[in-house]
Subunit: 351 residues, 2 copies
Amino acid sequence: MLEDKNMIKTPISALGEFGLIKHLTQSFEIKNPTTKTSIGDDCAVIDPDGKKMVVTTDCLAEGVHFNLGYVPLKHLGYKAVVVNLSDVAAMNVKPSQILVSIAVSNRFPVEALDEIYAGIKLACDRYQVDLVGGDTTSSNAGLVINITAIGMEVEEEIVRRSGAKPNDLLVVTGDLGGAYLGLQILEREHAVFLANPNMQPEMEGYDYILERQLKPEARTDVKNILKELGITPTSMIDVSDGLASEVLHLSDQSKVGFRLYEEKLPMDSLTVTTAEEFNLNPVVCAMNGGEDYELLMTIAPSDFEKIKNHPDFSIIGHAVDAEQGNFLVLRGSNELSQITAQGWDAFLNRS
Amino acid sequence: MLEDKNMIKTPISALGEFGLIKHLTQSFEIKNPTTKTSIGDDCAVIDPDGKKMVVTTDCLAEGVHFNLGYVPLKHLGYKAVVVNLSDVAAMNVKPSQILVSIAVSNRFPVEALDEIYAGIKLACDRYQVDLVGGDTTSSNAGLVINITAIGMEVEEEIVRRSGAKPNDLLVVTGDLGGAYLGLQILEREHAVFLANPNMQPEMEGYDYILERQLKPEARTDVKNILKELGITPTSMIDVSDGLASEVLHLSDQSKVGFRLYEEKLPMDSLTVTTAEEFNLNPVVCAMNGGEDYELLMTIAPSDFEKIKNHPDFSIIGHAVDAEQGNFLVLRGSNELSQITAQGWDAFLNRS
C-alpha cells in the first residue's frame, strides 16, 4: 500500500548487467581514505592501515525478512545496510565499506532497483560508508538482498562476545520491543488493506515504533560515547534477534550466566501501550521481539559510576557464574523466570 | 537427474537458525593465521598484517546461474566458492577467507544444505581458505548463494584492470569455451531426460568440458607461476563472462585497444569437436562462452621470452592505442572483426 503505482517501468534487461551496475552506483562517492579501489575491478582494495578488519554478511529475503506489501523499497535498502552496520558497531568498530548483492526477479523494473539503491545511498551518506562492490543478478522469484560490511580497528578497541566476567554489569542502549510492535501495526493494517483496499490504514500515533521497524538505525554512535566515558565493554552484541537470544549468546561465548531485572528493561511508553492494545505482554516484546538494533554489552563493575545516569544506557542486570544460568528476576518479587531462546528465528516463526 | 532421491529429509526448522549454522559449519577448520575470530561473533576479525585487503562478492541464483535439474548441490557449493576465489586471483592475490550467505526455501531439507556445505568445505580445503562467517535464511522460493571472498597482499603485488599499456602482450591461461559447451551438453541431456525419464543421458566422452562447467577451478596457482617467471602483469581480469567481455573491460579501464588473433585462441580439441556437433562456431564459444575462470592479463613486451613457450599461458594478442579499438584478426587473413560485449549476461540471455 506504500508502493507508488505510477512508477515508470523500465525492464532490467534494457540496461544489461554492466549498464545496470553503472546506472545504480554512479551517484555513490568514496568517503574513506582506506578505500583504494572501488566498483569496477574484480575486487575492491582496502587499506586497513595497520588495523585489523572486521567483516560481516547478512541476507534479507522477501517474504521472510520483509513484505513488499508494506515495506517501501527505499526503506528496505536503508535497513539492509543498517542491519549489517549494526554488526560492525557491535564489535566496537566504525563501519567503513559495504558490498551489496541483489538477486531480483524480472517482475521488478529498474525503477524498483533505483528505489532500493536510493535507500542504500542514504545509509551510506548517513553512516559515511563506501559502497565498494557487489553484484546484481536476476533470480527465479522474489528479492534477496545480501550485504557485506567491513570496518577496521586496532585490536585493543575490538570487543567480542566472549569477554564478560561474573559481576560485570549488563547494559543496553536505547529502548526495546518497539520494532516488533511496529511490525504488528504494519501487519494488522496490511491485513485490513487486503480485506478492503478502500480502508485507510490507521498509522497515526504509531510513528516511533513504525520507524523502529521500517527505518532502524545502527548504534555506530555508541563507540564514541563509550570512549568519552572512558569505558571499554568487556563483551558486546547487537540486539537483532531479541534480548533473550542475545543474552544467551553472551552467556554461551563468555561462559557466564546472567540475571536480568524485569523492572529495568527500557521500553518506550508507546511500546507498552501498543503491546497492551494487542494483548501482548510488553516484557515479552522487549525480551523476544528483536530487530531493535540496540547494543547489549557488559562493563566492569568499576565503570558503574561513569554510566549510571547516562540517558543512552540502561543497566538491566549483571553476569553471574555460568552454573547459575540465565534468569529474568520478575518485577516486585524475587521470582526467577528462565531465559530461553525465544528470539526471532527466520525458520521457525515466519516461514 | 543427478540428485539422490533417497536422501533423508530433515526440515530446516527442526534445527532452528543457530542450530543450523552450528550444524553446517562445525566441520570447518581455520587454516590461516590471519583469521583471528571466525563464526560465532557479530563479525569475523581478520589481521591483514600490514597488507591491503581485496574483497569481492558474487551471487548465484537458481534458474539463472544454475539448474538443480542437472547441477548436483555439492558441485554448486564448490563452484560458488570458486567463482569468488577467481576474482581474488584476478587481483594477483591469494584468497584467504570467505563468508557464505544462503537463502533457501523450505522445500530444501537440511540434507540439501549439507550437500552444498560439503562442496563449500571441499573448496575451502582445496584452496586453503577459511569460512569465517555467513548467514543462512529461508526464502520465498528458489536458492540464492552469495559468497564474499577476501585476500590480502602488499600494494606492489596487486594487479588491477587498469594498468595495460599499448604494445603490452595479451595473455590468457588454460583454454577457453569448454565450460560453455559443457553447459550445452547438460542442457541437451536434461531436455532428453524431461521428455523421457527412462532415457539414459549420453555424457560419456564429454568429461573434460562437463568438469569445466560443473567443477571449475580458480587459477590461484597462476600467482606463484608468474612469480617464478619473474613477471608482474600490468593488468588482469578473470574470464567469467567470456573473453570478449573481459577484453572490453581491460580496454575500458586501461584506456587501450586490443588486437586478438583467432588462430592463437587456446581451445581443447573436445571443445572444438563438441562445438561442431552443436553447429556452433568454436571461436564464438571461446570468445563469448564465459565461465572458464581462466585469467586474462597483459604483460610488458619485454617479458615475452619468459612466457613464450610456457604450457600454462597463451599469447593471444597485444594492446594498441585506444583509438584503434578492439578487433579480432581472423585466421589466415588480415580481416578484422570488431569485438563486442556478447559476453554472458545474466539478464539478457538466461532470464
